[in-house]
Symmetry: D3
Subunit: 137 residues, 6 copies
Amino acid sequence: MLLYLTRRERFNAAHKLWVEEWGEEQNKAVFGKCSNKNWHGHNYDLFVTVKGQPDPMTGFVMDVKKLSGLIKREVTDKLDHSNLNMDVDFIPRGLQPTTENLAYLIWKQLEPHIEGCRLHCIKLYETENIFAEYYGE
Amino acid sequence: MLLYLTRRERFNAAHKLWVEEWGEEQNKAVFGKCSNKNWHGHNYDLFVTVKGQPDPMTGFVMDVKKLSGLIKREVTDKLDHSNLNMDVDFIPRGLQPTTENLAYLIWKQLEPHIEGCRLHCIKLYETENIFAEYYGE
Amino acid sequence: MLLYLTRRERFNAAHKLWVEEWGEEQNKAVFGKCSNKNWHGHNYDLFVTVKGQPDPMTGFVMDVKKLSGLIKREVTDKLDHSNLNMDVDFIPRGLQPTTENLAYLIWKQLEPHIEGCRLHCIKLYETENIFAEYYGE
Amino acid sequence: MLLYLTRRERFNAAHKLWVEEWGEEQNKAVFGKCSNKNWHGHNYDLFVTVKGQPDPMTGFVMDVKKLSGLIKREVTDKLDHSNLNMDVDFIPRGLQPTTENLAYLIWKQLEPHIEGCRLHCIKLYETENIFAEYYGE
Amino acid sequence: MLLYLTRRERFNAAHKLWVEEWGEEQNKAVFGKCSNKNWHGHNYDLFVTVKGQPDPMTGFVMDVKKLSGLIKREVTDKLDHSNLNMDVDFIPRGLQPTTENLAYLIWKQLEPHIEGCRLHCIKLYETENIFAEYYGE
Amino acid sequence: MLLYLTRRERFNAAHKLWVEEWGEEQNKAVFGKCSNKNWHGHNYDLFVTVKGQPDPMTGFVMDVKKLSGLIKREVTDKLDHSNLNMDVDFIPRGLQPTTENLAYLIWKQLEPHIEGCRLHCIKLYETENIFAEYYGE
């Protein structure tokens, strides 16, 4: 009997897509407006899903307040009002902060801290029209 | 050729999280504000997904009006404007009405009535930030 | 040059609509399911709008973090996970906690604390389909 | 390391549900208001999900601008402001344009054009309360 | 002490924008894709706002169930799953069923039936990006 | 007979709140995380409302495609994927790009170009929880 529990958190951040080895022209050709050298930004919506069996006493797969606190401590406090290319310890310099890469890195950052159940999915919205998901493999 | 069809229904209900065997202090320590003895409540969003092959004549996996009627009769008419700890015949007394447990119980309540296709998922939002899913196993 | 600034906060609460002087039958006739004696509840969305001139240095009509803190301290910390008929000091016993009355009472509760600009509107959603507004007169 | 990337596009269209072999009475009995001979219509929300490995240089599973352009060229430019029973080359005459059938046909229309990664899911909302999904099998 | 109460209802309809006196070319030049002769359609979101003083016993500006019933009887039952150019008794033939004109006509249709308070605003969404409002003058 | 017509457009941008005359400490004290020297960003939702009488032939207060094109040309093409402190010709250097100031500047930028009806309101969302409005006076 496997239940899935999801918690949404939010963060606002600046980024740009830019390959150092390429010139401005090639960056613009590949990334378009996302390569603006002075940055742009987004309101990100992050959905974290864990799975497990509800505790018979509490009815919780995981205490959602603890899950929220964990996401804040390990992920959104580091990402909120940050520059994703420069400010975040768990985003390697030079890696493009695309929605796909961010979803993957957030999984890596969060997964070791989930106890008593398992991380199932990281779903990250960059805009209302674009989101990425990672399921750990 | 398997298609998935989802219908949303809504209900508003009161509940509290409270373990009878525990005192007020322990309930507060575990459940926080959710243990307020005078109840609190939510607007729940329920998404019911069935799966099957579309009928060649109607193009329906299931008639969505029938699915809606079924969800209302078996689930939301019983839950809407109710107290989830006290009023609902398919929620055992003493079981915590968490989002996880509710998703599981709604599956049990609805599954025997799905005909001509199969129930795939119960997804229940408690707030815009918290939801649970159950896939029947 | 008048700018309007709005901050959303949220709370979840239980209530019922019930006139003590009436019997169960009349209450049911008037209030329908909203008169369930065991309560029901909602996720409320509260939009608070203030108006004024932006400060030339900060560009703020009001510091939105201060506005948020004020709404929490004076209003939503008192309403969240509460029973609106029983638990809240600024809701008179016996007054129906309808969306309309709540919007009015939240204005009365908040208005004396707004400094440096003026309260313009309280807008309160009870569900995605129902909301009330009060403009102070 | 498999990432899922989703792009939303939208279109507005007219349709009716109507089986030619049936009379008006039977169509009304089966399809209700959806059989109105003068048509009705919807704002459709289309979510297209692809899956693959992010490119090490760009961080893209697929360039989301290219995905958006592809969906527009092959799908939504043909569907937007159309009559789904009469106007669209990839919807066979006589097939009911239900949400389920549309999701299936959009998959068939789009799948041959996805390069460098794989189509994973077509999810189509007909209203905020009804959506269908197809995963290619 | 004036409170504003709003109720949302929804309807799905087909329409086209087309001036009979003009040829196909001019209609296309003015209305673009909206002039498709085979129709297109929308999910409309209708917000009806009334204003008045809350009743001291019930706390209602107007019983929201009665307001909902009234909107359905006078407006949305006539508009839902209809063709706005052909099927609706309160939309004059030949008048363009634009969002603006529909908001105006819905006001005219509903206003005589509001009792015990006053109609304040008709707000009509055609898509998530376009809406019209009418305040009665 | 005055109708109000609203069009939503969107843009994504980076900014920071920072007073040059102040040191880092004072900027942090006043603006908190919004003063991060490496920027942060948002998805902005812009609602532009015009008012006027619908044209008797077209039913338009203003052609919404023209309104959309005008907003893009004069406002969102300049703001999208930009740095609001550095990149935009109609935002004075040194003025704080708060939601309030942006709403005011967008009015100034757009108002001279509205023909055949009048600009009524600029409403700008910075997040789902914060928005500002300006009505021209």
